[in-house]
Symmetry: C4
Amino acid sequence: MSSLIPGQTVAKHDNRNSCWIIVHGKVYDVTDFLDEHPGGSKIILKYAGKDATEAYEPIHPPDAIQNNLPIEKHIGAVDPNTVVKIIKEVTEEDKRRQVLMDARPPLDEILNLHDFEETVLPAKAWAYYSSASDDEITIRENRAAFQRVWFRPRILRDVTSVDWSTTILGCKSSLPVYISATALGKLGHPDGELNLTRAAAKHGVIQMIPTLASCSFDEIVDAAQPGQYLFLQLYVNRDREITKKYVQHAEKRGVKALFITVDAPQLGRREKDMRMKFVDDGAGAKVQEGQSDVKKDQGVARAISSFIDPSLSWKDIPWFRSITNMHIILKGVATPEDAILAYESGCQGIVLSNHGGRQLDTSRSGLENLIDIVAALKAKGPWPNPNFAVFVDGGVRRASDVLKAIALGASAVGVGRGFLYAFSSYGQEGVERAIEILRDEFEMNMRLIGARNISEIVPEMVDASALRSHASLTPADNLYNTTYQPLSLAAFRNAKL
Amino acid sequence: MSSLIPGQTVAKHDNRNSCWIIVHGKVYDVTDFLDEHPGGSKIILKYAGKDATEAYEPIHPPDAIQNNLPIEKHIGAVDPNTVVKIIKEVTEEDKRRQVLMDARPPLDEILNLHDFEETVLPAKAWAYYSSASDDEITIRENRAAFQRVWFRPRILRDVTSVDWSTTILGCKSSLPVYISATALGKLGHPDGELNLTRAAAKHGVIQMIPTLASCSFDEIVDAAQPGQYLFLQLYVNRDREITKKYVQHAEKRGVKALFITVDAPQLGRREKDMRMKFVDDGAGAKVQEGQSDVKKDQGVARAISSFIDPSLSWKDIPWFRSITNMHIILKGVATPEDAILAYESGCQGIVLSNHGGRQLDTSRSGLENLIDIVAALKAKGPWPNPNFAVFVDGGVRRASDVLKAIALGASAVGVGRGFLYAFSSYGQEGVERAIEILRDEFEMNMRLIGARNISEIVPEMVDASALRSHASLTPADNLYNTTYQPLSLAAFRNAKL
Amino acid sequence: MSSLIPGQTVAKHDNRNSCWIIVHGKVYDVTDFLDEHPGGSKIILKYAGKDATEAYEPIHPPDAIQNNLPIEKHIGAVDPNTVVKIIKEVTEEDKRRQVLMDARPPLDEILNLHDFEETVLPAKAWAYYSSASDDEITIRENRAAFQRVWFRPRILRDVTSVDWSTTILGCKSSLPVYISATALGKLGHPDGELNLTRAAAKHGVIQMIPTLASCSFDEIVDAAQPGQYLFLQLYVNRDREITKKYVQHAEKRGVKALFITVDAPQLGRREKDMRMKFVDDGAGAKVQEGQSDVKKDQGVARAISSFIDPSLSWKDIPWFRSITNMHIILKGVATPEDAILAYESGCQGIVLSNHGGRQLDTSRSGLENLIDIVAALKAKGPWPNPNFAVFVDGGVRRASDVLKAIALGASAVGVGRGFLYAFSSYGQEGVERAIEILRDEFEMNMRLIGARNISEIVPEMVDASALRSHASLTPADNLYNTTYQPLSLAAFRNAKL
Amino acid sequence: MSSLIPGQTVAKHDNRNSCWIIVHGKVYDVTDFLDEHPGGSKIILKYAGKDATEAYEPIHPPDAIQNNLPIEKHIGAVDPNTVVKIIKEVTEEDKRRQVLMDARPPLDEILNLHDFEETVLPAKAWAYYSSASDDEITIRENRAAFQRVWFRPRILRDVTSVDWSTTILGCKSSLPVYISATALGKLGHPDGELNLTRAAAKHGVIQMIPTLASCSFDEIVDAAQPGQYLFLQLYVNRDREITKKYVQHAEKRGVKALFITVDAPQLGRREKDMRMKFVDDGAGAKVQEGQSDVKKDQGVARAISSFIDPSLSWKDIPWFRSITNMHIILKGVATPEDAILAYESGCQGIVLSNHGGRQLDTSRSGLENLIDIVAALKAKGPWPNPNFAVFVDGGVRRASDVLKAIALGASAVGVGRGFLYAFSSYGQEGVERAIEILRDEFEMNMRLIGARNISEIVPEMVDASALRSHASLTPADNLYNTTYQPLSLAAFRNAKL
């Protein structure tokens, strides 16, 4: 429509009094927005008058600026030939990463999901992905909980063919696992969430699209294959019209289920992520006594989440029901009380999740909550209930973990970080390898527990009696331990190796 | 009144037969006191005939010498111009500390209360503050106990605004936390307890003044703002008249509540503190066989506490009731039996405390005791009881800890070391930062558990079933562990970093 | 019969299109078999046209190639004088091992079974023997379970003479221990399983012959002494005729009992073993992105086990009963349900085993399962039942472990790795030393618990109340632990040593 | 009587065919005894024809050779002037020890019983004293058990004066602690057990004299003060006449109680001690394959204990009753069944002991057994029973440990290693210091739990609910732990220290 704006014109608006930036070829006047920017004004001013796309991209939803900035501040398209190319400097961090990428183990030496987690990631991605809240107790408890459930394998069943495929909310899945929503995929890999979409297509796995994806919703859906199933994870906006538009658009584009996040009225304090900010900025180096005078941002999580509505409540559920026919699943349920409320409010399911340990620290694991919640639901209605699904996520690394959750009553299990690390290090092929590993593990483990298909995985196949056991040791008797000298093995003669 | 005494005159009394010292410009004859000094005579003789103020100050209540030395031994005021200035030598320890102070992280990088505890402190302060009794099991158990309580967060409540302010013994507090009494603040910072008073004023927090403060009671009260609430912690003196005078003076100056310490008829053996003395004195270096012939002091704790009355008993409670109208709270209750006795004896509350692990080692944590004691009080009277408050202290580092105690029945929680380390390293600003961190954590955590105010924090929000669980492992099978070789991740190709 | 084939003729068939190899002096055409070889074609092609005996031997049953390759592919005998001797190169690994062998502790310094496990073993043997499945949790739990059972020793019984001999399935045994089947003994020692046979003969111990022995079944039986008792472990072949022939041959040669492995329809993923393959092949070094294009083998376990029949089921038991009169024991039972099925299906016993932790990870230990299973069997029939024996294996290192299992109801206990490491490091003498150590321990421990013979070892002699206890700690509070400074002992004066 | 034998004559009997040795100035012909010597012939042959006193002394009861060698082999007294003085060479070990002795902390820096245990000891003493059986699990469990009992301290009792003295089997004791019997005191200090006797005299503590003392029984009794109480520990000899003589002699000399060891029909395998032997002998260095051809001794414990009668049984108790009027106490009871038998057989008490973890490994601790046993005795008769005392030993390091045992029903507690290490490092003064430390701890702890005397220490003062809890963790998830990166504190700016 309007003519292109010369880069030189943009370049004049390079300060706090008039601040224009270029994002994806469009010019925006963000002068009035500077003080509202959740990430602080400092980072924007760094790009005042310049092309901010590269910094903008991995940590904002692609349409964030368009949706959030008043239309009158949308100045127009820039003339691409006139924009000064920002030569990205190769930082020490970039070099460090490249060395690690070159040294990665080849993919066929990746034998389990843990292997993807070696810190090949860019430092910022690592800090954002791996961090959890406060003392990071819940994130580790999520893992530990699976290992308090033991198998009771059955023998002498003909397990020549075993089948671990299943149906999740009416959608066929080759695994009893779905790809859970995680934010900001481009921090780890330039293709971001598309790595997941493509691998999911190839292997018949369902992907849950995150609200805070680095790729736009439509980019992801466009990358899907015909017939490929997609779910949507939703952070509810303070402006319900934005949410309504987003949800209805998703339904129109074929998304099958809506997972409303209910455990994040405010995003958690993730100190690893927050500390990364300080390192990144070299901040504070000159400030010793008292506060530094520039407001620091508080990690990526806070910066990107200010739109989330803390007023979201049970009263909103009927409204969601009224705007969409998708399955509605509440993601982040932790108590039988709320599970029953979800059931009674007409939802189609719940995810027992603590947000990967990223929200309320010392929350219990989804697996532990599963026991109480299944008992409560059984007392309330039919079980298994074809109209109400229970999912679990958090801490899954092995197919055996999934089998334990299923034995205890879960329909399927969400895996987030596992796939996130896989594509951050190896792109789409990493995700495919992760799926193959799980598939191999499912085959072996189902044979070994004596279950030929998902329905044969029954509660009697696990011993969960220790799941509720939370020990902390009597603090160490350090003096005694110092004086005690451990036993040693028979001594070798002076071997020279 | 009398004329000034020349420094030269004082200087002649520089030995065991006649020993004068100067403290705060006054001259005292301590010859007869040498053998009674709880810290031993050696340390006094070091200052015989000289100005002892600098050594005296951080480890004695300011008026200790005036109150304890018979009036006839108060020689008079010294002529300041004639006192030889003691050039304080800069010790290795001083230098070490200065380097650390210069290298401290800027305050806005302090993200939690743990961050204050890095050992920037002078070695003596660190030894005195951080030490606990015997094997230091209880001090660590205090922390561990909080982590055996898990959250059961509720979802989908409108948590747009959350309010964590409360009322403690009728006094408004911006946090459900008060500053608990800790001794000898000047060991850590020249302004001592005043750092707390000033920060508390700014943030609407209540400070409990310690009997063993380095600042005098009146200095602290004088530093308070109009309307600022103060409590008083009391070690009861063998001479009840001193106690009576002290309590009534406090009431007159507006203190609202009297916390009588009941878990310290004798101060605990704190071996870290005791070992510091040996290091400090270079003591014993020449003594190999048998006892050294100078009586060593046994750490700061013993030195300053000989006035405490071990005969204090339930019979004294009516007397306290008779001398003051302040609320009377017993600090250091550990059993339901004693909680009921406190209730029946007309006290207004109790603190479930083990003195920060500094008294009887392998005592249980206050948090664990809370469960039994609340149950006992519920069986005895109304609950919550507006006339009988239950507080907890020990091991608190996070707002989430406080929320757990409140869910289990506590009115508020005391924090001692957290603030002590904050001002030792950063003065008043450190305390303010600590309060801000707690405030941020309260906001987040209350949203995440689904409580909009303190009264919405209910027992159902926590799972305390593991709180009574005290495990110690079967001792390690060292031979087996030596032969077992742990799994490793996929190997990187020789990366050069 | 036919004339000898010249080595030069064989040497021409050195490629994928025509691939002959020599094994034990016989020539085989394996061209069509290349793609079926469970260990991949690459390893065979390395020996195309050459003598493959040395590589073949430790990881194949001696008659595997004869039994599995169609008779028309058996070309004939090679003329030994014409075969080019492959000069085995001395690898770094060979040298490393030789140094360790020279430095081994003398046998009389080996005081317990752990002492045999120092890694003197060739790297491949170590990887294959020591590995277990997935996260190797069950293998370690096997050991830990014994240490959750505590003794309740009885006193003042005349224990001048104590007797720990017993009868196992009607066979006299000098110990309540049998040598359990483990595969591929020649990986550890050139004499392989014969080391066990010879030592067992000398000490009156029963050996269970493994299906996957490196020595042939007949070699082992031939090495036995007259009257020496042998059992047979069986992996059931997809081709039941092979199994039938094998079982009936064993019975004819005097084997007393048939232990059918029921916990291995598919062999587990053992990642240590799998990783060793990569190291061994130098594989993947050039492959960075994506899969390497040669199919890697997946560790020894998978390579050797493809014949095992995953369809084996309860329906097969009557067939086994019909083909043999040996005792039939099911090895790998883990639940009371299956123990009862085994009993009702006419078996003579079961082994509570999880395959040394090599199959389903996070399976419970045999010792823990023993409690439930004995209770179930007691409810079902006479106890102890002279017609139904219960054995346990996994994690045994001490005679005291054996006594605990016996007290809880086991007839005897299987030891696998203990003897395997013993002969890998010291040959037959190592096995003898292991038996002597156990004998010494039995003597001492039986005296100390007050049991004069096996029948006096009763349930009351152990406290197994903790056996069901599976704790995982609340994840560490790393920040707190960083700030806590442990107590130290009294300091020494600068000792120069 | 007979004339003195010249050293030169002795020197001729320097070989296996005729072997004489000198011990304490007497000449013995031990030729026939060489093969019976529990410690092997090699060590005797080293001294053939020479003075063996120095090697003999610390590990044999002084009269062992006289009592055990037939009278006709007692050749006579040697002429001291003719004996070649063996110049004791100063070994590396002697030098190492001297350096450590010079560097010991002065006694007043010893703050607790742990401080005595730093390895100042001669290597052989350390190996013998510190070792325990098998995997040394019980020795450490003994300590851990105390830390599973928590205090429930009472407040506001007048604790001005507290009294921790008591009466043990009718004998006044200044502490509720007695010195338990431990063998071979001269390994640690040339004065051996006399250090204990002298310190006990000064402080009103009761010493239990060990059968295997390095000092003779009479030396110890002679060193006692008039009125000093002594008990006797007894290993029962296969030759009951020797035992009878020994017991009756003890009674005649005023010993008040006889503690018959019932948990040692055979002394345990203590591998640390056994390994020391190998190091000591430089044994095996040349032996690689197979057994070394000289029979090795199996540690000190076995060498000195062959006289102990494994046939000792309940039938012997009446006989003991018939030969002495001393109190008879059974040392080493571990079950309620045996406690009741002891009570019914007319004993005056029992010691709940596992021999310091030196006999049956994975036996439960005495403290844990105390609970069951007190319950059983209560069900059987009056409680506390003035005619039947229950003692506990094992793992005591703090007065608080003792108080816990007393609260749970023990009359008093035995301390062995604590005093043994004290005199090994500091002689008599070390033992006195240990007693003083305990006294200080008793004073403090009794005040802090609110007990003014031993009878006020009641069961309600402890929470022993965790005492029965024996956890072993789910084995570590090493892959996960490798990928998890712990939180760190705020970073310091590059401090140079």
